[in-house]
């Protein structure tokens, strides 16, 4: 199929990403369970090994590197559960990905209100 123009700053979670990210997303899906979250916190490396994360996935988990997790096939709906373990909200994630301070990121959101209506 003809691929449409990429959207800047946006990764579409399609088959290629889903295949690449399966192990990572499966681990994050397991974090729905409080026991699993505790097990991860107790032994991050052992927990990642159990889900057979790829090297780039494990490295991005270690570095809490959100863009790295996306590049390694992570899906934000599952990654949000990992962020929950770290006590991060979606604005923390937004700041981390855009390279802004959280304060600036929130200010940008508020400014969205000023968009001119055609």
């Amino acid at each position: 199929m003809a691929q449409p123009q990429p959207i800047p700053g946006t990764t579409i979670f399609d088959g290629i990403q889903a295949a690449k990210g399966y192990a990572l997303n499966k681990m994050c899906f397991s974090f729905n369970d409080a026991g699993n979250r505790a097990a991860f916190k107790a032994d991050e490396e052992g927990y990642m090994a159990r889900f057979q994360l790829t090297a780039p996935q494990a490295e991005a988990i270690r570095k809490r590197d959100v863009l790295g997790l996306l590049a390694a096939g992570g899906n934000v709906y599952y990654l949000a559960k990992f962020a929950g373990i770290l006590g991060l909200d979606v604005q923390d994630l937004g700041a981390a990905q855009t390279g802004m301070s959280k304060q600036d990121f929130k200010a940008m959101l508020v400014r969205a209100n000023e968009q001119v209506i055609h």
């Binding site: 979670f13 729905n32 409080a34 937004g94």
Partner: protein
């Protein structure tokens, strides 16, 4: 036959659950959001629907990539909420309207919708919080959940979701019951959580979309999923739930109330209540 009383649509965000649990509805950050529901609660108290058919998208609580349905219809006697990973308080179970579930399932398969049927189903914040927003006390309606995939691409097209809604509406209208049914759609409006474009919000599009649902409900079906992601963000595509809801409420509608507020979390939070005039 059952009667469709109208359609309700709202954004959903996990943080709403925290705000309700902590009683923050009157705080400056939350008040413009929560106040939007007050006129709708009055309308609901007046109309008193018996059943809610809820279009929502699962966020990785009930479905994983091992078995990811495009469309899933619940047929369970009870739907439980559960821990989604952030420890927001779980809400009490919801009672299923099992006979309507199967009537909808029969109709959808007859109309060539290749749904997945769920006799057991955990429902996440996208299902539970809107019901809590519309009915802050105990939930008075029985429910039929209809889940649309927004996690893994390819997603069903806007046109397909609208057609799904229409078919669900036909099923409700042909249900042999004297009950009143309200259709609910939860998700959107424009927002993007992931990538360098995180924080993207498109107010002009959102307002145009909300307006179209009143008078020109098929307007958004002109867009491909890729165009919708471009215009509304990776999670903005959750507006598919709104489109399916409007598809299920056929014909002319009266706007009971609408609200639009930026931001709640990273989201342009919209709300609409449309009364069926058919």
């Amino acid at each position: 036959m059952a009667r469709i009383v109208g359609g309700l649509t709202t954004s959903h965000v996990p943080a709403i659950g925290g705000a309700i649990a902590k009683g923050l509805q009157g705080e400056p950050y939350w008040k413009p959001f929560f106040d939007g529901f007050l006129p709708v609660r009055e309308w609901l108290a007046d109309v008193k629907p018996d059943v809610a058919v809820v279009f929502y998208n699962d966020h990785g609580l009930n479905f994983f990539l091992d078995k990811m349905p495009t469309f899933a219809v619940g047929a369970a006697p009870e739907y439980r909420n559960a821990d989604e990973g952030w420890g927001i308080p779980t809400l009490p179970p919801f009672t299923g309207q099992v006979d309507l579930s199967w009537h909808v399932i029969e109709h959808l398969i007859a109309r060539e919708f290749d749904i997945t049927t769920c006799q057991e189903m955990l429902v996440d914040h996208a299902f539970t919080l809107p019901l809590k927003l519309f009915w802050p006390e105990a939930c008075p309606v029985t429910v039929v959940p209809v889940c649309i995939n927004t996690v893994q691409f390819p997603l069903p097209s806007a046109r397909r979701c609208y057609a799904l809604g229409q078919a669900v509406g036909e099923a409700i209208a042909s249900w042999n019951s004297d009950k009143k049914v309200v259709v609910i759609g939860t998700g959107g409006l424009s927002h993007q959580l992931d990538g360098e474009r995180a924080g993207f919000i498109n107010k002009p599009f959102d307002l145009k979309f909300m307006d179209s649902l009143v008078h020109d409900p098929e307007w958004a079906t002109q867009f491909s999923i890729h165009e919708l992601v471009e215009k509304t963000g990776t999670q903005g595509v959750e507006l598919l739930m709104w489109l399916a809801t409007r598809g299920a409420v056929p014909g002319a509608v009266r706007k009971v109330h609408t609200n639009y507020h930026i931001p709640i979390s990273n989201t342009a939070a919209g709300m609409m209540a449309l009364e069926s005039l058919a």
